[in-house]
């Protein structure tokens, strides 16, 4: 793993999200609780809605375009056949770190 420092945790609003540009496209970084963060693809598999603009509730996000609800732990869409990629994140001393290995644009192999 190669951890990359992306922001201070307070740069992300509580029950909100910000996005991150990567070689794989935009990644949404969600903050659900005081120190609880998740990262997942910003692109809804339905029709490409930007998930970082959705409403964050519990450990889920609702897509702003047509209300698909995704579990941020697994990336699975509730009651729909679709899912989003999730990425490991870590909080350390108030900073949010993302694992860069999965994001470099090359296949993991």
């Amino acid at each position: 793993m190669s951890w990359i420092d992306i922001c201070a945790i307070d740069d992300i609003p509580l029950r909100g999200a910000r996005k991150l540009k990567t070689a794989l496209g935009c990644v949404a970084v969600f903050r659900t609780g005081t120190a609880e963060v998740f990262a997942a693809s910003d692109r809804c598999p339905h029709r490409g809605g930007p998930l970082s603009e959705g409403i964050v509730h519990g450990q889920s996000v609702t897509c702003p375009l047509h209300n698909w609800v995704f579990d941020l732990n697994t990336g699975q869409a509730q009651g729909e056949n679709g899912s989003i990629a999730t990425y490991p994140l870590r909080v350390e001393a108030g900073r949010v770190l993302i694992d860069g290995t999965g994001l470099s644009g090359r296949s993991a192999a």
């Binding site: 991150l20 990567t22 005081t34 120190a35 409403i55 609702t62 732990n73 860069g100």
Partner: protein, 810 residues
């Protein structure tokens, strides 16, 4: 051979070390014990009961003089150690030196003092030892006002103790909720509620700027310039390991004195134990792990193998009546699942956090009887998959029910208002039921409850069921969503009658089953709270659909549209030039004239929004709220200014109305139009409020629409003057804001409550009309401002957090 063991600090950690040594290896060491406090070891955590008067100092002494004498320990109490000479293996006390073979540093920690002006004034106290406790007891003798800085465990115990002794106490806490390290927001809400019930004032997000006073503390000044009077200030903002001796002696010190798993410092003959140490990056502030450390250290001194490991710890608060429990890790990390249980009737909240079929954290308030059991599951890492569904009900659970959907109603007090129209309280209704009104019609006839607008019908039915039990069945009403059992109407009424003023209050008191709602209920709750409590509650952008959070309409490709306000459809060359310039500068692909008499710039990227807003703001253009459940447009026709048929100044009235109403949030969008004559060029007869000017004055229509349903307006009133037209419009919109369910356009709401009910309040009752107008003005004192101007100030929020595409792939 007896070795010389010197111990610096006679606190709870070293006390336990000595107990192990004298029991398991009596005579192995010749012990000298220093303590800066002029006394030996007492149970420090019981200082809070001493402060509140439940215990005396004598009752909390762990080791008295006779005990030390019996163990042959040389006590040097009231004497500070001032240095350690590691080369000569000597400890220097204030009154003389002592040589050692082995040394234990157990100096505990020192309260953190925030470096503000006035921190050294007499009357500013920390909370650490008996002397501090006695100083507080003394100060409380004369009553007066106390300010406690810090809403953690210590601060709250101090606050409760001082309140118990008759002081008027205010707690200042920097974070959003109390005890944020041990509790989540929901439990923090309940704790706050219970402390407030005993008269303690709690201020969260309160940052201390200075402590005021000349020769004695007189008050506290906050960063937001609020001043508080104070005769006593208690600082309880945290602790710092007491590491000065170790530092001076050149031992390795990080935040605490660094030790290995045998409690050995960087000098093999010197050990450290208790709150002064740092182990593997961890600091300690509760006794449970310190007792583990003490056991390990004593074994090492007896040459028995042992190693310290960090374990989960559980917290309780020693304030009678505030029953809370927290253990493990209940916030951080992914791959977790929550189980939540709330019982509003008993003020109970429980949350379990599960990861990989194991319980990893638990937070409880109100009923903590099962705390130890849950803590055991956490520590042992028990696989809970088989009992997941019933886990939250605890070990005693045998086939019981899920949460009772009626408990929120059962919990209401007798004087909680149920029917807002007629001012009928729960007590009156319950009495009527007891006296034979066993169905809705009878309750209506006897009490008038639910006999007017009808929106409280659901609540009255629930009261029937609560009172009559299984004899009465509530007709199924659609709840807001899966997070709760209440339909919108009940939710709105209960927010009003229970005076629920925060989201946390709604989740807890109305028995929400989820942590913080979902995309369906949270926007509704957010609106109800801001509409009912404009002064106490602030709009929460994170509970809004993207358009209202971003103040722009999202498009199917993720770009946004920008629609500036054109008051009453009137514009001028300067505004048009600014719009044209902005369209060019930001490469806006489509510029369209809307159906609402203004111009839409479609296809602006999210990143560009703050900049384009700032440019438009410079020309005096503000947000048109084309995205909001709020006031949209006021369409007008040219009226008397130009038209040969115009009867009144329709353009002028439209502009006035738009300037009064803009910025307000409403259950759904609200559109107005003012036409200068019955030819109705502004299409006023299909608007939420449509005004037609006639020779004799103004015809006010309401509840029209031309969207999914086509509705012609219904006549609310004919009035003579422009001012009356304005007043009735405002009153109508405020009545709609106070009563309609979220996402009902006015026509749907009027269908439900009836136009007569609306007329009775807006038209026929001048007092109620005046109240509605005043309530609207009050709310507008907060919301009538341009969100674009505010958001343009935080442009960085609209940019990506970081750009990793540039990060080297290697």
């Amino acid at each position: 051979m007896t070795q010389k063991l010197v111990i610096i600090g006679a606190g709870m950690a070293s006390g336990r070390v000595i107990e192990h040594l004298v029991e398991e290896a009596p005579g192995a060491y010749d012990i000298t014990l220093f303590n800066a406090e002029p006394r030996g070891n007492y149970n420090r955590i019981m200082l809070s009961p001493v402060l509140s008067g439940d215990k005396t100092y004598d009752e909390i002494v762990t080791h008295d003089a006779a005990w030390y004498a019996a163990q042959g320990i040389t006590c040097r109490f009231g004497e500070h150690v001032v240095g350690i000479d590691r080369d000569r293996k000597i400890v220097e006390g204030e009154k003389g030196q002592v040589p050692y073979d082995k040394l234990i540093i157990a100096t505990g920690s020192a309260p953190f003092i925030i470096p503000v002006q006035g921190k050294d004034l007499p009357g500013v106290i920390t909370y650490r030892d008996l002397d501090d406790t006695n100083a507080m007891i003394d100060a409380a003798r004369t009553g007066g006002k106390a300010v406690v800085i810090g809403g953690g465990l210590l601060g709250l115990e101090a606050a409760a103790g001082l309140a118990e002794r008759g002081m008027e106490v205010t707690v200042l806490h920097l974070m959003g909720h109390l005890m944020e390290r041990q509790l989540d927001e929901a439990a923090g809400y309940l704790l706050r509620r219970d402390l407030e019930k005993r008269g303690i004032t709690i201020k969260t997000r309160a940052s201390t700027a200075a402590i005021l006073g000349e020769s004695q503390v007189e008050g506290v000044l906050l960063e937001d310039n609020t001043g508080l009077e104070a005769d006593l200030v208690v600082m309880a903002v945290g602790i710092r390991p007491e590491t000065r001796l170790a530092n001076d002696a050149g031992l390795e010190v990080a935040r605490g004195i660094e030790v290995n798993a045998q409690m050995q410092t960087s000098d093999p003959d010197i050990y450290a134990v208790g709150e002064c140490v740092e182990f593997d990056g961890h600091l300690f502030g509760l006794v449970a792990p310190l007792y583990d450390q003490a056991r390990v250290l004593s074994h090492c001194l007896m040459d028995q193998p042992d190693a310290f490991v960090v374990r989960d710890i559980a917290t309780k608060l020693k304030v009678t009546g505030c029953d809370l429990f927290s253990a493990g890790d209940f916030a951080e990390g992914a791959t977790r699942e929550d189980i939540i249980f709330r019982d509003p009737a008993r003020g109970v909240y429980k949350r379990l956090v599960i990861e990989d079929d194991r319980l990893v954290g638990a937070v409880m308030y109100g009923d903590t009887a099962d705390g130890t059991w849950f803590f055991g599951l956490i520590k042992e890492g028990t696989d809970i998959d088989g009992m997941r569904d019933t886990l939250i009900f605890g070990p005693a659970y045998q086939g019981g029910d899920a949460a009772d959907p009626l408990s929120a109603v059962a919990a209401l007090s007798r004087d909680a208002e149920i029917c807002g129209c007629n001012g009928i309280c729960k007590g009156t209704i319950v009495d009527a039921i007891a006296h034979g009104a066993t169905e809705l019609g009878a309750v209506r006839a006897q009490t008038k409850a639910s006999a007017s607008c009808g929106t409280c019908t659901g609540l009255v039915e629930k009261l029937l069921q609560v009172t009559l039990g299984d004899d009465f069945h509530v007709p199924a009403a659609q709840p807001v969503c899966g997070c709760c059992d209440l339909p919108h109407e009940d939710l709105r009424r209960l927010i009003k009658s229970q005076e629920l003023k925060s989201q946390e209050a709604v989740w807890q008191e109305l028995g929400w089953k989820t942590r913080n709602g979902c995309h369906i209920c949270r926007p509704a709750v957010n609106f109800y709270l801001l509409a009912d409590w404009p002064m106490e509650y602030r709009d929460d952008p994170q509970s809004r659909f993207v358009n209202e959070r971003k103040h722009a309409n999202i498009q199917k490709d993720g770009t946004f549209s920008v629609v500036p306000r054109m008051w009453g459809g009137i514009t001028n060359p300067r505004e048009l030039r600014a719009i044209a310039d902005a369209a060019e500068k930001y490469n806006v692909p489509t510029v369209k004239v809307t159906g609402g008499q203004r111009i839409d710039l479609l296809g602006v990227t999210g990143e560009d929004l703050p900049a384009i807003w700032a440019d438009l703001n410079k020309a005096g253009l503000v947000s048109g709220h084309a995205y909001s459940k709020g006031l949209r447009t006021v369409k007008t026709c040219v009226g008397t200014d130009h038209c040969r048929f115009g009867t009144q100044d329709s353009t002028g009235l439209g502009i006035k109305l738009e300037q009064i109403l803009w910025g307000s949030w409403t259950p759904h969008k609200v559109k107005l139009a003012v036409s200068g004559c019955p030819r109705n060029c502004a299409e006023a007869t299909c608007k939420d409020v449509g005004i037609i000017c006639v020779d004799s004055g103004y015809q006010l229509g309401v509840a029209g629409a031309a969207g999914m349903d086509l509705k012609e307006t219904q006549r609310l009133a004919d009035v003579r003057t422009e001012q009356e037209a304005i007043d009735l419009t405002i009153a109508f919109i405020q009545l709609y804001r106070e009563n309609a369910r979220y996402l009902d356009r006015p026509y749907r709401w009027v269908e439900k409550v009836g136009l007569d009910w609306v007329k009775a309040r807006v038209v026929d009752d001048p007092e109620e009309r005046a109240r509605l107008i005043a309530a609207f003005d009050l709310s507008q004192s907060i919301y009538r401002r341009d969100p674009w101007a505010e958001h343009a100030q935080q442009a960085e929020r609209f940019q990506p957090l970081a750009d990793l595409t540039l990060e080297a792939a290697e």
